[in-house]
Amino acid sequence: MTLLDAKVNTRYKVSGVSGEGNARRRLLDMGFTPDCTLYIAAVAPMGGTVLVGLRGFMVALREDAASLIEIEVA
């Protein structure tokens, strides 16, 4: 599954990052590397944007970026 299917207040582990080019590299640079632990802190009230905690910081991702991050239950 991808970050789009993730539930709020739940912990996950990254299994991979799909996509290509700039979008993918930005996610990798941000630290979404395989085996990294994630926590879904919030989903925006109107949906479509998730707030994820990882490696000591939080980042908001729109659905296009979130759909690139493959996750599994930690």
Partner: protein
């Protein structure tokens, strides 16, 4: 000697705070990402050396994403600095060191600053950076740039390092896990030709960096040889992070007692770098009775904190509470700023100016038989007009006080996050939300912050929309008029003006997205780091207030003063008859503005005085109200059949028409001449049309309240029903990859972009 030192780091780690400390500047800082959008530099003297300190926009990696990151990347790649001071944030060390590794890969001289040590100390923790220093072989200076920090130590270390550092001997062992030699054998010659280090180019090639690949100019055989090696992009990031995890493991530990970390701080700041490592050595964790008891309870929270999640966000960003909390916060700010507190101080200032300056001065001038026109110019033109603006200083201070609190605490970024649903639909990103929020301060400076926006169409759109958000110069206009006509409800009327401005901006964005092709930005990607909640420091809040109050006072003393004199003279002298008071002659402005006046007749303020004040407002919006004051006050302008409705419409028009010439200049700078004219026409057109609709509806309500309100409610309900129906029908074909509106969705079922 002359040196150049560049400040480099991730966004929002405190580069500008440190820059301000080193150079004694007052550049704008804020607890969000991308405050700095251009290179800023200043020369300082240190120890007989002239050092050019360069503050660069933040970047996450040398593979860039937005134009402002490109500025930093180019500067770093040019290797034009004698030293790079790389600033890291202690709470977020792993991701910050990711950039550090890239700087070391590039082989540039680096001094590492680990900032925000104060936040670590507050959590009762200490950092043992000795291991990191040993592995990376670069000097590390821990610091709290936000508070008084030992900048002297950093400069000492930096100058020393520039003078003494030799060739970089650091062995970045993780690079052994990548097939760099194989890549070099393919691209080595091209790299040498492009003037790049083959090893560094090889890393970038594995990362699929478009910038470096473009420079290498590889042929087909080379590209396919590289492709045969497989996709190693994720691998590069992974080995870097694994290495970082290894060197930072156990670096942050709970301090044993307060004495210990006091001592630690002491040593870290005062002992010269070469020797302080020993003192800052590992501090073993000694189990503490109290500590153990609380341990379990703290553990879950601490684990969340390790992931960077704040518990407060559970409430602030709660699905149902987020928007009510936001509206409540805004309403509170408006009630305080424009209600009792702000009004009291304004009243006090007004009284002071009247009793201490106006009355004695005019009394004295009259007693020495000064000519009438001089009394009029000094009394009504200058003191009443300029003083009429000056009295809003308390409200301006309060407004910026709250804006500073919102900005510095990290709440503004939360606002950008929770409103992202709307922004996403109208082709804007969270970054444009920042620019627009800055528009509540000053339209012209806000427009300039749009430079950091990644997408060109979105940038243009943001630049066009920002002027509709009510800047602080419009505040005196609302405050005076609302105070005169709606004494009790003025905070809510003013809040309404701000909401109307925001609503117009959002509606226009939606319209542009649908109908104006050069402004249609489509579905935009959006990755925004959320800053942690921080307690705003008095120093920074005062700095923001002071910067803005200073600008306001300077404007009052120069532009507004000069304009007021001109307006008063032109409105009290005629072309032929001289001073007009007491004579039957039309003043110069009465003639000129009289031409335009009929345009505003439908709104009930089609008189030359209103037109004059609106025209003079083109230079600075505060002048709208100072002109009104010197032309006889609000009562002399709104005299039609429905004075309060005319007054409200006047406020609406003031909100929406051209903010000031400076904003137009800023728009020209960011979007070009063509868009400046577009924006000029847009602002005047929108202001006129919305005012017309507003006055019309207002008139209907006044004439036939019951029926009109009923009709409006029915129309609203029908509109909502239609909107819901349309979205239901549209949503039917929705795929699992998006939350709805699938007909416009850019994705196919397999998740790939069309």
């Amino acid at each position: 000697m002359d040196y150049t030192v560049s400040l480099v780091g991730n966004p929002n780690v405190g580069k500008t705070s440190l820059y301000n400390r080193i150079t004694h500047s007052l550049e704008h800082v804020g607890n969000w990402h991308g405050v700095t959008v251009a290179e800023v530099s200043k020369k300082i003297m240190f120890d007989h050396n002239t050092i050019d300190i360069v503050d660069l926009p933040g970047l996450y990696s040398l593979s860039v994403y937005s134009p402002e990151e490109g500025i930093s990347r180019d500067r770093i790649l040019a290797k034009s600095s004698d030293l790079i001071v790389n600033i890291c944030e202690v709470n977020n060390l792993a991701r910050n060191l990711y950039l550090t590794l890239q700087l070391l890969e590039l082989d540039v001289p680096v001094v590492l600053v680990i900032n925000m040590m104060d936040e670590l100390r507050k959590q009762g923790k200490v950092l043992n950076y000795r291991n990191i220093e040993r592995v990376l072989k670069i000097p590390i200076v821990p610091m709290s740039a936000k508070y008084h920090s030992d900048v002297h130590l950093l400069m000492d270390v930096s100058v020393d390092y520039i003078k003494t550092h030799g060739a970089n001997t650091v062995r970045l062992e993780y690079l052994d896990k990548l097939p760099l030699d194989d890549v070099i054998s393919i691209i080595g010659a091209n790299a040498a030709q492009a003037g790049l280090s083959p090893r560094w180019a090889a890393i970038k090639v594995l990362e699929n960096d478009a910038f470096v690949l473009g420079k290498l100019n590889l042929d087909k055989a080379q590209s396919s040889a590289l492709a045969a090696m497989g996709d190693l992009q994720a691998r590069v990031a992974q080995v870097r992070y694994e290495f970082i995890d290894k060197i930072t493991e156990g670096a942050i530990t709970r301090s044993v007692s307060s004495e210990h970390h006091e001592m630690h701080e002491h040593t870290a700041h005062n002992v010269p770098l070469e020797s302080h490592g020993e003192n800052a050595g590992e501090i073993a964790e000694i189990p503490h009775d109290k500590h153990v008891r609380h341990h379990d309870r703290h553990k879950a929270g601490e684990r969340l904190q390790m992931l960077g999640v704040s518990k407060l966000d559970g409430i602030v960003l709660n699905k149902y509470l987020a928007l009510p909390i936001f509206l409540a916060v805004m309403a509170l700010i408006f009630v305080i700023t424009f209600g009792l507190v702000g009004n009291f101080f304004t009243w006090l200032l007004e009284l002071g100016i009247d009793k201490l300056i106006y009355n004695p001065l005019t009394g004295w001038l009259n007693s020495i038989n000064c000519p009438d026109w001089i009394v009029g110019l000094l009394g009504d033109g200058i003191i009443q007009g300029v003083g009429g603006i000056l009295v809003f200083l308390p409200q301006i201070v309060l407004l910026f006080f709250f804006l500073a609190l919102l900005e510095d605490s990290g709440y503004i970024s939360r606002v950008a996050f929770m409103t992202d649903g709307i922004f996403r639909k109208i082709g804007l990103s969270g970054r444009s939300a920042f620019t627009m929020l800055m528009g509540f301060g000053c339209s012209a400076t806000a427009v300039l912050t749009a430079r950091g926006l990644e997408d060109e169409k979105m940038r243009k759109k943001t630049v066009l929309l920002t002027p509709f958000l009510s800047c602080s110069a419009r505040l005196p206009v609302y405050s005076t008029i609302a105070g005169a006509f709606f004494a009790g409800g003025s905070p809510f009327i003013i809040f309404g003006m701000y909401l109307l401005g925001a609503a117009v901006a959002l509606l226009l964005a939606a319209l542009f997205e649908k109908c104006v092709k050069p402004l249609k930005s489509g579905k935009l990607s959006f990755i925004m780091e959320m800053p942690p909640y921080r307690f705003p420091t008095a120093e920074r809040v005062l700095q923001i207030i002071w910067n803005n109050a200073k600008v306001f006072l300077i404007r009052v003393g120069t532009t507004i003063f000069a304009l007021n004199v001109i307006v008063w003279l032109l409105s009290n002298f005629s072309f032929t008859a001289g001073y007009t008071v007491g004579k039957d002659a039309r003043s110069i402005l009465e003639v000129i503005s009289g031409f335009i006046a009929p345009v505003f007749r439908p709104f009930g303020f089609g008189n030359w005085k209103a037109v004059t004040s609106l025209l003079s407002g083109l230079v600075a919006k505060e002048v709208v109200i100072s002109s009104i004051e010197s032309l006889g006050g609000v009562e002399a302008i709104f005299m039609g059949a429905h004075p309060s409705l005319s007054a409200l419409t006047f406020m609406v028009f003031t909100l929406l028409y051209v903010p000031c010439v400076a904003t137009l200049v800023a728009i020209k700078k960011e979007a070009g001449l063509k868009w400046m004219f577009f924006s000029l026409i847009l602002q005047i057109g929108v202001a006129y049309l919305v005012s017309l609709a507003f006055y019309g509806i207002g008139l209907l309500v006044l004439l036939n309240p019951g029926v009109t309100v009923g009709v409006l409610i029915v129309a609203f309900v029908v509109a909502v029903c239609i909107a819901v129906l349309i979205s239901k029908i549209k949503g039917k074909g929705s795929c699992p990859y998006c939350t709805g509106g699938c007909k416009t969705c850019d994705r196919k079922k397999d998740g790939k972009d069309r």
